[in-house]
Amino acid sequence: MRKATLVVVTAGLSEPSSTALLGERIADSVLARLRSEAHEVEVETVSLRSLAHGIADYMTMGFPSGEVGRALDTVRSADALIAVTPTFKAGYTGLFKSFWDLTDDDDLVGVPTIVAATGGTARHSLVIESSLRPLFAYLHADVVPTGVFAATDDFGADDSLQHRIDRAGAELADRIAWKLGGEHPGESDPVTAEPEPASPSLAGGNGLPPLKVTPFEDLLNG
């Protein structure tokens, strides 16, 4: 059984960032749950702040430059995803949306995902349902039922935030464990059972998705 990759995409802008911190806490919760079931998971974090220029360049230039390309490759190869954004003007941030605008429509199909957001007060908490869920529904991600919203006050309150984090974390961990083959480790591996591209030259990389070939006779027959 191979390691699964859990990718955290955070759109926090400040350093340190409560948004990045929320992403970390959710990832820790997922890891704790999976470790107790003896699954191996590695976490990769994509911080959009450092990619802001590259994201704008991709939009104006039409192709990804080095770091943005690598970030897109990371997301494309994720077994599970935690997407976390601050709330700006009643929605996710423009930077957050811009990053997902650069992904391919197929990149997140079926990928277990937690959506999470931070905001100044709890009055913004519906950002999860009104703005994040529609985006990831469009991308066909497998979004877990529990979204995590953390208001500033939550970082100084009782353990209700941790409770929400653990609930979402457990939902994601269960999906990852199921993907990894659950009680039959080593026997079958649904994660690696995905077909490899037909030949190396068709593979993606550098931020580019793999190229799919449709035999010409099929194209001609409509």
Binding site: T60, S201, L202, N206, L208, L220
Partner: protein, 366 residues
Amino acid sequence: MQLGIMTIGDVTQDPTTGTTPTEHERIKATVEIAKKAEDIGLDVFATGQHHNPPFVAPGNPPTLMAYLAAQTENLILSTSTTLITTMDPVRLAEDYSYVQHLAEGRVDLMLGRGNTGPVYPWFGKDIRQGVNLAVENYNLLHRLWNEDVVNWQGKFRTPLQSFTSTPRPLDGVAPFVWHGSIRTPEIAEQAAYYGDGFFHNNIFWNKEHTAQMINLYRERYEHYGHGKAEQAIVGLGGQFFMRQKTQDAWREFRPYFDNAPVYGHGPTLEEFTDQTPLTVGSPQEVLEKTLSFREYAGDYQRQLFLVDHAGLPLKTVLEQLDMFGEQVLPELRKEYAASHNPEVPEAPVHPRVAEARTVQEGEHHA
């Protein structure tokens, strides 16, 4: 190796003077530029096709190609691109055959799907059918040129019974076809299926992406039995701006780059020259970077540069071409000849063009 230039016919304000050419000036400039291409010894001039401002590339390229055929002797006249999606394939067969006769075979064409969405509805087509239109229309065009009598039925145009497209291609040899696509694997597949050329207009793209598309085409070319992958017929785009001193080239070109309609107000010139085929610098730098394209594209057969865009005045464009002809082209040809893999064929030309070249070379040696 065929070397040439391509134009999109943009009517753009010169950002350094605020002057915008009239459509008439731009069209006449295009003719001057094409004639200059022949004068400096380039092989190909390719015109775009456009249906919207700020472009004055012809809506039907054979009008310009026929005029240029009368004004030139050796230049191969091509397109960059001919819209296979919104044009009637019957008219393409007729018009390109006709101009092929006028030009004594100095005609080929590059098919593309276009980059302006509304062109589809303007011509009564559905953009969601873009690839299917390209597939069906080219299949019909191919048959019209290669079969004397065609019975045909498809989805997108009225059926044909006992139809003969006239004039027949010159000496029965259809114009060579390049399929241009930047990111659509189906088009690379189409080029490979027919054993036609594949042109990747990489001017706004990085080499990783370009290599991925070209490799796909090469692999499928071999799959369909036209030859080995490295023998497939590949074309690339390019852009340069040069002065004797590198820093002069950068200083002069930067305002044009920064305000260009396509990439202006986006990436910096430094980033763009680093990641795309654009070369700004000395003739030596243009030579070296152009030669480096083979490192990721393999031995390829056609190199077309975009030189007349972003509001550059005609005088500058002609200077650029003179410099290229004197200081880059001879070295480029020498290098290509010296390192040419004899197993890789040249891009196909009409037999009359090949014969004319042989005669010319004979005269040179005599």
